[in-house]
């Protein structure tokens, strides 16, 4: 389907864009949001990098069990991206039952991710890590950066799970169509991809 056509109107040749940008507005809106959110996450990670460079004897608190936990979380999040893809494809194929199934699976995986993450948090907190405290006696910046960066990500995951719930309900009720599922999917993949930076930078760089 050609996007740009030559139209003849009123004696003028007019270049027309059929759909001006060729990208559906919800999708474009989500992409624009992703751009800004990527910058927000970026600034958080840059602040972390700055702290990290500027701190003498940063310390590396994560043992292999934490890394393993992180890998499991990564695997869970990656699988949820795949189930999300399946949901989008089902929506495009107009298969309501499958959409419900796959969105449910995505939400479940998202919740598992959040639960695993919170478990990690509570482990650290019980060891004495706080936003402002380092139980090993080193600089307190690890707690501050770790909790704030992963906290921001966790907020995104939880928001995503809730949003997917709304999308699933709206889709079932016929208020939403496949474009909504696709837009929600973009957000979900984005949250997944942010984790691809958070995991190496916050976990692997802090493994001992």
């Amino acid at each position: 389907m050609s996007q740009i056509e030559l139209m003849v109107a009123g004696g003028h040749e007019v270049i027309m864009e059929a759909s001006p940008y060729g990208i559906e507005k919800k999708k474009l809106g989500m992409w624009i949001f992703i751009v800004s959110d990527a910058c927000t996450f970026g600034a958080f990670l840059f602040a972390y990098g700055y702290m990290r460079i500027g701190t003498v004897a940063w310390g590396t608190p994560f043992g292999f069990s934490s890394i393993l936990n992180g890998m499991i979380m990564t695997a869970v999040l990656l699988s949820s991206s795949l189930t999300m893809l399946a949901a989008v494809r089902a929506a495009q194929a107009d298969d309501g039952a499958a959409v419900k199934k796959w969105l449910g699976a995505t939400m479940l995986l998202g919740a598992i991710f959040a639960a695993l993450h919170l478990r990690e948090w509570f482990n650290l907190i019980s060891e004495g890590w706080r936003l402002f405290a380092n139980p090993t006696g080193g600089p307190a910046q690890f707690g501050a950066t770790f909790f704030s960066v992963t906290g921001l990500h966790l907020t995104h995951v939880i928001t995503g799970v809730i949003a997917l719930g709304f999308v699933a309900r709206g889709y079932k009720q016929g208020r939403y169509d496949q474009s909504h599922v696709e837009t929600a999917g973009l957000y979900w993949h984005f949250v997944d991809l942010v984790w691809m930076f958070v995991f190496p930078l916050m976990y692997l760089m802090n493994a001992h």
């Binding site: 389907m1 996007q3 759909s19 940008y21 060729g22 990208i23 559906e24 999708k27 474009l28 992409w31 624009i32 992703i34 751009v35 990527a38 910058c39 970026g42 600034a43 840059f46 990098g49 700055y50 702290m51 990290r52 460079i53 500027g54 701190t55 003498v56 890394i67 890998m71 990564t74 695997a75 990656l78 699988s79 991206s81 795949l82 893809l85 399946a86 989008v88 494809r89 495009q92 973009l186 993949h189 984005f190 997944d192 991809l193 691809m196 930076f197 995991f199 190496p200 930078l201 692997l204 760089m205 493994a207």
Partner: protein, 100 residues
């Protein structure tokens, strides 16, 4: 217009597995006792690769109009790239600190 039918579901599963493998490589790198900046460089390269694959395939930018790619990528990379300007001061913080 746009479509993500260019790939089959099994290819996507393949991509997912591939991404997980990259993560495994990252973990292996972590335990190679490299200098921190070497490790950081390696991890960032791999993470960028993952992000690129994710954006192009999972988020199927590859199958959208190219204009979408040009709408989002340059702006984001521009901001993230120039934020690097703040690192020289991080070294200042390391080297000129008052309290050792």
């Amino acid at each position: 217009m746009s479509s993500n039918r260019e790939l089959t579901m099994s290819s996507y599963v393949g991509i997912g597995v591939g991404l997980m493998l990259i993560v495994c490589v990252e973990v292996i790198f972590t335990y190679q006792h490299m200098a921190p900046h070497t490790l950081l460089f390696a991890l960032l390269c791999l993470a960028c690769l993952e992000a690129y694959v994710g954006v192009m395939y999972l988020m199927h930018v590859k199958y959208e109009r190219p204009i979408l790619f040009w709408t989002i990528f340059p702006a984001t990379l521009f901001v993230l790239g120039f934020l690097c300007y703040l690192f020289p001061d991080a070294f200042r913080m390391l080297n000129m600190r008052l309290m050792k």
